[in-house]
Symmetry: C2
Subunit: 429 residues, 2 copies
Amino acid sequence: MADQLRIGILGFGTVGSGVLRILKNHEPKLNQVTGTTLKVKKVLVRDLKKQRGSIADGVELTMDADEIINDPEIDIVVEVMGSIDQAKEYIKKALTAGKHVVTANKDLIALHGNELVALAKEYNCDLYYEASVAGGIPILRTIVDSLASDEIQKVFGIVNGTTNFILSQMTNEGKSYSEALKEAQELGFAESDPTNDVDGIDAARKMVILTRLAFGMNVELDQIETKGIRDLQQEDIKMAERLGYKIKLIGSAIQSESRISVDVGPILVPVNHPLASVQNENNAVFVVGAAVGETMYYGPGAGELPTANSVVSDVITVAKNIRLGTSGNVFGSYQHETNLAEDTKVFNKYYISIEMQDKTGQFLALTKLFSQFDIGFDQIIQQPLSSDMAKVVIVTHKITKAQQKELINAFKDTNEMNLLVCFKVMEGN
Amino acid sequence: MADQLRIGILGFGTVGSGVLRILKNHEPKLNQVTGTTLKVKKVLVRDLKKQRGSIADGVELTMDADEIINDPEIDIVVEVMGSIDQAKEYIKKALTAGKHVVTANKDLIALHGNELVALAKEYNCDLYYEASVAGGIPILRTIVDSLASDEIQKVFGIVNGTTNFILSQMTNEGKSYSEALKEAQELGFAESDPTNDVDGIDAARKMVILTRLAFGMNVELDQIETKGIRDLQQEDIKMAERLGYKIKLIGSAIQSESRISVDVGPILVPVNHPLASVQNENNAVFVVGAAVGETMYYGPGAGELPTANSVVSDVITVAKNIRLGTSGNVFGSYQHETNLAEDTKVFNKYYISIEMQDKTGQFLALTKLFSQFDIGFDQIIQQPLSSDMAKVVIVTHKITKAQQKELINAFKDTNEMNLLVCFKVMEGN
């Protein structure tokens, strides 16, 4: 059991230098907490000639990852270089060489987490990735800690800062989707190709990770019903407001009778619900446990310092585990057969907006369509769209996902009514 | 280093039996997480003859605390019996006997935490008390973990469930203070003598604990400016709403230039702020760190199962520390000289409501009073109270606590204007 643990960092971007800075500045406190000394030995850089200032004092810089991965003195490898394939190769090599790994790489963990976790176990190494979901919020740690003494029933919340920023701008400032997206891009909250964020793919990847940890189940991305916010109209936000809701992009994983239902999409959240007041680029995740009840964790979803802070928390845990002799044992060690919930067992209220001809008998036809599938109305608003067209907004009673799918299919077969959107409605508060 | 850790529990009430149940039901997971076996050996009960059911199988029951405290086989003592003096005596004896202690006893920790922490350090023992603040929310752990790699700037939030329940009822249902209190008492959220809750004393005790952990400073209860909700009028809640705020009882500890300002009182929270949507008996605490930014932790403030769950989390930490050899080292080990902020360095907006005669020149007199102390207006509402009396509500610009105190004193010297309430106004969102 080493009195000193040596760290190699792959990547010297903003997160990498943040990690280095925190480890250096907080050395006495970190030593006290872990009962050992943490020292950064080497950092992988792209350019050896770049000036780094005093932050790099006492640290070897290298452009060759193997010099870190094959260094027998290095105990912990921190991967903050991004990308998928290259990072995966380095992490596999590091684990195979018996090194513990901390990564902030969400895409890598969502796509190849299982393979890497299995490898980590095979080599009795730790693999931690707190920063991969909800940046500065210690949500993965909380889930793993909760699981030790509780049974998690639901994990849901706002796990994508970009879309929450866009939705906040649309809601608070009345901007259109494209205006809000443009602003998010200008402020650096959205990439020039925003597909991964606005189509809900990023949120779905985070739900893969959360589901794996909270329920021990491996869902694939294509098993997660994923809707984005690209088609969301200012009109829907106003309608939701009239009905007492705000629209948020929510990722949700709910267990019932040992089966899991995971989805991502715009959801109507009651205006008094804590998730409704999560503004701009912030994230917030609810964890509901049988014993603890409803808890929520809120904070910045991304950012260099929050991310670096989460990486250092993982490094602390790895250091403790090394000293405890419990390496290779946590984050994703809880495994369970993956059973998806049947559509007839998943219940929700839905917000449905429809465009239809404004003529006698049309509303009757609409009512008949709904009653055909035994779907009742909770709230209805009708308003004219033009001289001969009307918009109707309906909040249904609680129905099954199966009923909802039948209804959506039925709309495809009618010519006179056009289904615009169908969003889940959250209950509570 | 023992392969098995033995636990003694002082108290077999709802929390005590909850702890026992969780430790039994989750044994394999707990063993995996701690790398050791946790076994409850003895439980202190009031009545040996009471039927306990299968939960007590394999556990020795005793009515003599010394049988637990002096048992050389017992490593960890869990105190969930409540009361102050008796519990303090047992905990001191247990620490002196070299046993690690977990307690849920907030009053004890607020009043005698320093003495007990010093004793724990002297005997190289752990002393944990996660359940003492915000029941099921892992807030103390989060603060201690954050401190290892960050610098905390502010800790504030809703830390008393009883008053938040009463305020929710007054806000959502339009009830009067006494109606809402009565309902809280009927539902078991408030005691028959509600003084500790409604006068903010319970919240202040929690702020003592939070301040000690977040800033390493020991504030005494009488150094915390504490206001309760007893005099809060339905009228103020409605006025606050018109101005865009909800009234919440907030405990707040803010550090600036190495000095601390701690207070408890009703505060106007912007309606879009996450704290504004914390309903009923729930708690929510913001922790603001230099690196991580604003994070919030929300959940049930009390309750048997959430409390038992937090106690078990502490037991897990103690078990890990024993195995790490880092006992006697955490929760309150960060110490700093206690420096209170000067009144001229603490800035806030204030909500001030005034009753005054509705006659010509009166508003001018009011304006002069404020301008005398260089206090500007942000928002003003005036409305008639009766034929010759008016109510004026003012939100000030940001002023110092010194200015606010001068203003309040000046009101005492006037006969024609009566200051009803003066509450802080929270900014942001």
